[in-house]
Amino acid sequence: MNDANIYEGERLRLTALDPVNDPEVEAVWSHTPDFLALFNVELQRPTSAHQLKKRYEEREKNHEDDAYEFDLRIRLRADDRLVGVLVIWAEWGAGNAWLRLGIGLPADRRHGYGREALALGLRYIFDEMNLRRVTVGVPGYNEAALAFFAAAGFKVEARQREALFRFGRRWDEVNLGLLRAEWEAAR
């Protein structure tokens, strides 16, 4: 039996959300405009630690999305510091996973954390969740993310024309997809 810890990479660890301590860090991120724009296509607003705590408590109470939503956090193995978010939304019937990935602070970017976290996420999706493909939706203005997913083997599948409005103008939302066979070939 393979007893490797599938949540751990060389430098990072995928963990559960910590509803008590994570909100303090995420509240800081939410005040970083570029994190909002890069991680999320929904209209974002600066959010306090208190608001986030309440939101997480509420969600825990309802258990609503437990079966579908895997709201994970990315931490450094060295000191357990929270550096990013990885959300997987499973469409079990179809066998598809929606994935979103973000590294919170600009200072933590360009260290390869994103790449390592994505590798962990994809292994979880294909080897544990047994899904057949992964889809991401990337705002057209996020060129770094488009290049990031393309480098990981994702292929551009659809361009939802003018689906987004940001920075005073319209942008496409780009869907990229990765099939299990493509992931295995690139492994």
């Binding site: 659809a158 939802q160 003018e162 987004l164």
Partner: protein, 308 residues
């Protein structure tokens, strides 16, 4: 001008509020048709009882990011399907469309097309959306054809999105922008030309009547049509084509062309002088008019807009 007609009503159907109580039994019945349900959802279809259908509706249909209507046939009041917008992103002024006619007995009657048309009018005209998107199984050819006809543009496909009956199925992503609605194909936008016929023996007199008396400038007729006789003229950016046709009594038909002019009484005198008998038309508001026949029997009307 604002007209206060109900935007969510067509000749045959209306979009009404979802009512979990009212529609629970109905939706439970639809859920038992697995073949139909798999057209609507990539999730595994499961039969529901009415209580579950009500709970599903409570959960999905009343959220802020979704707007959901029931499709009701006006004649008889039957609810035959659901339609709505989901993934409504307010700041992006964009949303995605979903629709389903739940009862197979009501398929292929144009209800889906009518419902989507109503919804798009509402989405662009009332909600002021910039974009309506949708996803559809690539293999659902009837649905894809309908969306294309309504102007939706194919924007890509999610490959092998699910597997059914041992075969991979793609999902098509389609979108429609505000300036693309209504689609050009949905309406004729103006009259390009009308044709008037005379016998070939009368062709020279027809040139005299239409080009000289009415004063219409002749325009070039394509080489490919030249040996067929006749001529073309222009009026107000549109065209009159005069062609030949034998053995027809033109004086017996009521069909006519109305020529809009200023100085209507001068025109009446001019036609009378050319030997065309004229008579008063039945009055209509906003216009003065009279009618006559051209020298070849074609009925014609002259009309002038008047104040008040």
């Amino acid at each position: 001008m604002i007209t206060f007609s109900d935007q969510l009503t067509s000749d045959r159907i209306r979009l009404i509020a979802i009512d979990a109580e009212r529609d629970g039994d109905l939706m439970a019945r639809w859920s038992k048709d697995a073949g139909m349900m798999r057209l609507f959802d990539s999730d595994v279809p499961r039969p529901r009882v009415a209580r579950q259908s009500r709970a599903d509706t409570e959960k999905w249909a009343y959220r802020d990011t979704a707007i959901e209507w029931a499709i009701q046939v006006i004649d008889g009041g039957a609810v035959i399907g659901r339609i709505g917008l989901h993934r409504y992103r307010t700041s992006h002024r964009a949303a995605d469309l979903h629709v389903g006619i739940g009862d197979r007995a009501h398929w292929s009657k144009g209800y889906g097309r009518e419902a989507v048309t109503l919804l798009l009018n509402h989405a662009f005209g009332e909600m002021d959306l910039h974009r309506v998107g949708l996803i559809v199984f690539a293999a659902n050819e009837r649905a894809v054809a309908l969306y294309r006809k309504l102007g939706f543009v194919e924007e890509g496909r999610w490959r092998q999105f699910l597997r059914r009956d041992g075969a991979d199925q793609d999902i098509l992503v389609m979108g429609l922008l505000r300036h693309e609605w209504p689609p050009a194909i949905a309406q004729v936008h103006r009259i390009h030309h009308v044709q008037v016929c005379v016998s070939s023996a009368e062709l020279e007199r027809a040139r005299a009547f239409y080009l000289d008396l009415l004063g219409l400038p002749e325009i070039h007729k394509p080489e490919s049509l030249k040996d067929r006789g006749g001529f073309w003229a222009e009026v107000g950016g549109q065209q009159l084509h005069v062609s030949t046709e034998e053995g027809v009594d033109r004086t017996r038909t009521k069909a006519h062309i109305a020529w809009q002019v200023r100085a209507l009484s001068d025109w009446r005198a001019k036609l009378e002088a050319a030997g065309c008998a004229t008579l008063d038309s039945i009055p209509i508001p906003g216009y003065d008019r009279f009618e006559a026949r051209d020298p070849f029997g074609n009925r014609i009307e002259f009309i002038q807009a008047v104040a008040g």
